[in-house]
């Protein structure tokens, strides 16, 4: 080819991407719904061959102009295109009885990728990629949700969305690793969260610079504002306790945020993990209390620091009250985190369940508003809840630590003087 053919590269690239997408969709849907998957693949085949025929025609018209238009070949290609594309589509729908909706999804895939690639080629390429990935991830989840919805509603009011481990468990039978992962989903997703944060922080802080890039800047901003907030309470103890508080904050934040991706699950929507975290915090706080105040000081603190006759007279009342107050802390911490995340998840499950029921009843148009709009809205809310709950958990840890640590007598006296 002498001169570069405008758009040829774009067309072939988007065709390639649409093939990848279609094959991925087909592979994902093949085990559960073979007819739908094959219809998508057939639609993709027809549409992409249509594009290929069109490209050949355009090439014939534009390039061989000097040597005269080859009438025979053009007629042949037009005839082949009509026979293959339109005849093939007609035969598939009328004779073979292919379902119309998945077939048109397959037909639309090359058009969609071409549209996306041509309109937002360079500006928002990552965004388009993420969007398509999300859509591709959501599709099997929805299909499975539609299948599970009836059974789940029959039992006990749909409890949660099927995630990737459930889907894997449905596909692979009798693999001990998959069985174990399915039985311990909370653990698996907590690991994924921890590893994701490790990878992210390593990626962001791999080459720390004096003038930080976007990622490093963002992470440093988060850490610095956390340090400011905690430093206001802990004062000189900040350096010792901030690593623990920061670790708790980022761990909970990552685990919460992971639940937003379709097919993933927030491990914090189970009381097991939150109770474990709260117990860790509880033991750490008690331990640091004993370490800082000494055993006698710790007991004195539990007794409410009696200094006069009335204080000692109130001892039988004060000790149980303080001990109960300490014991209630992990319960309230864990229930708060669990309730918030679980509540948000349940809201999304209810709306996706509605969409799944509509899809099951072939009311696709009715399914779109709850699926897209409301779910997206609640996902926004879920992001907010995730961040705020992680912040509250770590801030309360700070407060409990602050209550346990020896207060500065000097500052105390000043405030009393001011009164």
């Amino acid at each position: 080819m002498d001169r570069p053919f405008l758009g040829k590269d774009l067309l072939s690239r988007s065709l390639r991407i649409s093939w990848v997408l279609a094959l991925a969709l087909t592979a994902l849907l093949l085990p559960s719904r073979p007819s739908v998957a094959l219809a998508i693949a057939a639609g993709q085949l027809i549409a992409s061959s249509n594009f290929v025929f069109l490209r050949t025609l355009v090439k014939l018209f534009t390039e061989k102009r000097s040597a005269g238009v080859p009438q025979g070949r053009i007629l042949f290609i037009v005839f082949a295109k009509f026979l293959f594309v339109y005849g093939g589509a007609f035969a598939l729908i009328r004779v073979a009885g292919v379902a119309f909706a998945p077939f048109s999804i397959g037909l639309g895939l090359p058009l969609l990728t071409l549209f996306l690639k041509s309109t937002i080629a360079n500006v928002a390429k990552p965004a388009a990629f993420i969007l398509l990935t999300l859509v591709a991830l959501t599709a099997p989840t929805l299909c499975l949700a539609a299948e599970h919805a009836a059974a789940a509603h029959a039992e006990e009011g749909g409890s949660e969305l099927p995630n990737w481990l459930v889907i894997l468990h449905d596909w692979v039978h009798g693999n001990p690793v998959v069985d174990w992962l399915n039985a311990n989903q909370i653990l698996a997703f907590a690991w994924i969260g921890g590893l994701a944060f490790l990878a992210f922080s390593w990626f962001a802080m791999r080459k720390p610079k004096m003038v930080p890039g976007q990622l490093q800047n963002g992470l440093e901003w988060i850490i610095e504002s956390m340090e400011d907030i905690c430093g206001g309470m802990l004062g000189k103890h900040l350096d010792r306790y901030f690593p623990f508080i920061g670790a708790v904050f980022f761990y909970i934040l990552t685990i919460n945020l992971i639940g937003i991706f379709p097919g993933m699950k927030s491990s914090t929507s189970s009381l097991d993990l939150t109770l474990a975290l709260a117990l860790i915090v509880f033991l750490y706080v008690q331990f640091s209390g004993i370490k800082n105040l000494g055993l006698l000081g710790y007991l004195d603190h539990l007794a409410g620091s009696p200094r006069d006759a009335i204080g000692f007279a109130m001892l039988p009342v004060m000790i149980p009250v303080h001990v109960l107050g300490e014991l209630v802390k992990p319960v309230s911490l864990s229930c708060r985190l669990f309730g918030n995340i679980f509540g948000e998840d349940t809201l999304i499950v209810v709306f996706v369940g509605v969409a799944a029921m509509c899809l099951k009843a072939s009311l696709t148009l009715l399914a779109v508003p709850p699926l897209m709009g409301i779910t997206a809205l609640f996902m926004l809310l879920q992001t907010l809840t995730s961040i705020v709950q992680a912040l509250i958990f770590s801030l309360l840890t700070t407060v409990y630590l602050y209550m346990m640590l020896p207060h500065e007598e000097h500052a105390h006296g000043e405030t009393e003087h001011a009164h």
């Binding site: 009011g157 206001g232 229930c335 708060r336 309730g339 918030n340 705020v388 509250i392 309360l396 407060v399």
Partner: protein
């Protein structure tokens, strides 16, 4: 009136009552924080932190009712 019917009636009402209480509490808290922020914009971070912690405590009350509902929900036949 049997056990299930009582539970089915009481759980939503309980959550509603808890939400009313929390709502009133959050309203007071928000008003106080907003007034303080308006009066002393330079103390904004401190007020915000205290406000968020307070929100956490108040909101937990509704969450307790919510969790209780989920624990008892399975008992409705």
């Amino acid at each position: 009136m049997n056990f299930s019917a009582t539970l089915g009636l009481a759980l939503p009402i309980g959550i509603g009552l808890a939400a009313i209480g929390s709502g009133i509490g959050l309203g007071f808290m928000g008003r106080g924080a907003m007034e303080a922020m308006g009066r002393q914009p330079e103390a904004l971070p401190k007020i915000q932190v205290a406000m968020i912690i307070g929100f956490g405590f108040i909101e937990a009350l509704t969450i307790y009712a919510f969790v209780t509902m989920f624990f008892l929900q399975g008992k409705i036949q």
